[in-house]
Every structure is written in C-alpha cells, then in structure tokens.
C-alpha cells in the first residue's frame, strides 16, 4: 500500500509512486520520472472564487450557484461538466456529489479529483479540481515479442482515449504473460516502465524476455 502525502502532487512524481507500487521500473536518468515535467501547454484559467469559506456541514443542503472545473484542459473540463448531474440551482447533497465524482472518475480522464465549495450568499459555488491522467505519447516494445508484441502495443495504445492508467497497463501486461505461459514460455518475463514527458504525457517501454520454451512429451 502506497501512502502519498496529498493529492495533486506533480504527475511525474505520481507516476514514480505508481511504478514503485506495482513493480514497474523507474526510468533511468536523465529522464528520471522523479523530475517533474515542465508543461509548455497553456493552462486553463482557474475558477473565479470570491465567496467566503464554508464548511461541509453548512454547504450540504444549499443550492448551487455555479459549478466550474479547474486543473483540466478546456476539452477535458467540458467532458467533465457533461458527466455532472448536479448543476446550477440543484441542491448539493453528499450522495449526489459522490455519484457525480464517481462518474467523472469512470471516464478515465482524471487520476485525482476533489470537490471544493465556497459560499455565495445563501448558495454555494462548487469547484471540481482535477488532475488529468497523462496521455500515452508512444509505446515501445523491446526484446523477443513474436507472440504478443503487436497486439500488446495495440492494446496499450487503445487504452481509453490513450490515457495512462496503471490498471490498464497492468492488465495488458498480465494478459501478455498469460499468453506466453499458454504457449509454453513458462519463464517469460514482461516488464514495463513509464517515462514522464513534458505536457502531461508518458512514454511506455515494455521489455520482454521470453526465456526457454517448454516442450511437452
């Protein structure tokens, strides 16, 4: 179990944490994933907030004055807003917000999110703060890969919207290992590593060592 200090750490550091958690290998210098990438892409403007601080116990039950998304590119912010059942004039409830956040998570577009509120007269302004999942820039497969290489690359690149999610990568790698075992390569080793690139992107490198093939008698 990995314990991180707080959400919204730089994405490269988050990837390093995830890799350490799932057995992936960190990238070698100078592309060490612990170095946060510097994004040159324009960042979305933060939500305008002028309201007073309000605690959760006061916020729930009030009507929503406005909803905005921060931390996402305009396209992703728009997609997130589409997922929300809550809207202006709706009553903010724990259950409705939880359902909306669950739907946003399920899109695969974000790998962290939180909901913030501030008072706006008798209503509340709701801000959905997200960290976008990195985009898979490219996938390179090295080592002998006559059995799984091609389809694995396709599967990795076909991850929902080409977004990097550890679970997606792990499941593809697990399937590849299983295929090797089925083909008699019982010692096959399939490893992966991710390198953070500027602009919230990652490069995936999959290394396959097939090992000897067992022959049945």
């Amino acid at each position: 179990v990995k314990r991180t200090t707080r959400a919204f750490v730089p994405i490269a550091a988050a990837i390093a944490t995830m890799l350490a958690a799932c057995g992936g290998r960190p990238s070698p210098p100078p592309n060490d994933v612990s170095a946060p990438p510097v994004s040159k892409e324009p960042q979305p403007a933060p939500c305008a907030r002028g309201g007073k601080s309000i605690g959760p116990e006061e916020a729930f039950g009030r009507r929503i004055a406005s909803i905005c998304v921060s931390g996402a590119s305009p396209g992703v912010a728009k997609a997130i807003l589409k997922e929300l059942a809550l809207g202006a004039d709706a009553t903010l409830t724990v259950e409705a917000l939880r359902e909306d956040l669950g739907r946003v998570w399920a899109t695969g577009l974000v790998d962290d999110l939180e909901a913030d509120v501030s008072a706006n007269d008798m209503r509340v302004d709701l801000e959905i703060v997200v960290r976008e999942s990195p985009l898979i820039a490219d996938v390179t497969i090295t080592g002998a890969a006559p059995i799984t290489g091609l389809s694995m690359k396709g599967e990795l690149e076909a991850a929902p919207l080409k977004r990097f999610r550890v679970r997606n990568v792990q499941s593809v790698i697990s399937r590849a290992r299983a295929r090797y075992v089925e083909m008699g390569f019982h010692r096959a080793d399939v490893k992966w590593q991710a390198t953070a690139l500027p602009g919230n992107r990652v490069r995936l490198l999959v290394t396959i060592v097939e090992g000897p093939r067992s022959t049945g008698r």
């Binding site: 707080r6 907030r49 309000i54 724990v94 909901a115 801000e127 792990q170």
Partner: protein
Amino acid sequence: MRRQLVFSLLLIGAIASVSPNAEARIVDRVVAVVADTPIFLSDLRARATSHLLRLDTAAPENYDEGMKRTASETEMFREVLDRLIDEELVGQAAGAARITVTGSEIDEALDRVAKQSKLTRAELLAEAKKQGVEPAAYRAELFRQILEGKWLSLASTKPPPGSDEAATVRHRESERKRLLAELRAKVFIEVRL
C-alpha cells in the same frame, strides 16, 4: 511523540476538509485508490459515522484531553480506511469468482442477529439507528459480511482435522489475514491521506 502528534493533526486537518485555500473548502475527494476504484472522503465519513458516535459516547475519562481524542479519531479513520480497502479487495475477488449475495440471505442474517439479541427485526434496526447506522447501511454491512464469508469459504484452506471450535475460528482468522495479504500484494493500492 511530538512527530506523531504533528502527523495526527495533519491527518485530522485533511479529514476535516481544511483546504489550503482560505476561501474554498474541500467537501469530497479521493482518499484511496484500489486497482482503479476510488474510495472517496464521503465513503470514509459515512462508514466512520458510527465509530465517531462511539467516541462521543465513550466514558468521559477516556477522552478528557483533546489530544487523546484527536489521536483516537486519527487511528479510527485509518482503521476504517483500511477496512474499506479490504472490502473493496474482497468485493473484486468475489466478483471475479462470481459470488453473489441475495436479499433473502441478508433478511435471514438480519433475523439471526435480531434473535441472538432477543429483539425483533424492527427493534434491531431501531437500535442500530440510535448508534448512527441507518437501516440501509446496516443491510449493506450484512451484505459485506456475508460476501466475505462466502469468499473465505471458497478461497481458504480447511482447518486441520479434529480442530475444536476455538481452533477453527483461529484458523479462519489466520486464513483471512493471509488471503487479504495476497490480494493486497497483487493489486495496486494508493492511500492519499
């Protein structure tokens, strides 16, 4: 000790939703990820409600110092989150094994617990509500317990022949720990407290 206290205050601060921004306050966020499934702060708060009530109703001498209570809450939130993570792991493993729990199985369990407590089903649910557990939450808890029981029966080894009841219970608990440790080792888990 001092370091532990600072950490406790930080953790309580996070759970109490104190945003670094003075104007906006966090009302919900991801506190853990199990495989690709998020656990939200609202999930943690909902499950911790009855535990908080227990802290409130505990003997005053146990919590007459604020710091003691803070430490108790911190520990309690951590335990509840660990429990939520285990439940998610068991839920995923049970789903993969196509284990299901029906409404009538929950009803039967409810009646069994009521009978043991010499109460009717309605009285039992009313008593649970007094302790901060709504009927739906109580049924959900029974669902999780039955699911875990079925999964354990399927996945665990049998106790050694001739084991008495106490030995069987110990074996079951040891198997539960072993199987959960196996699940935790296989699955990507991140705690974001």
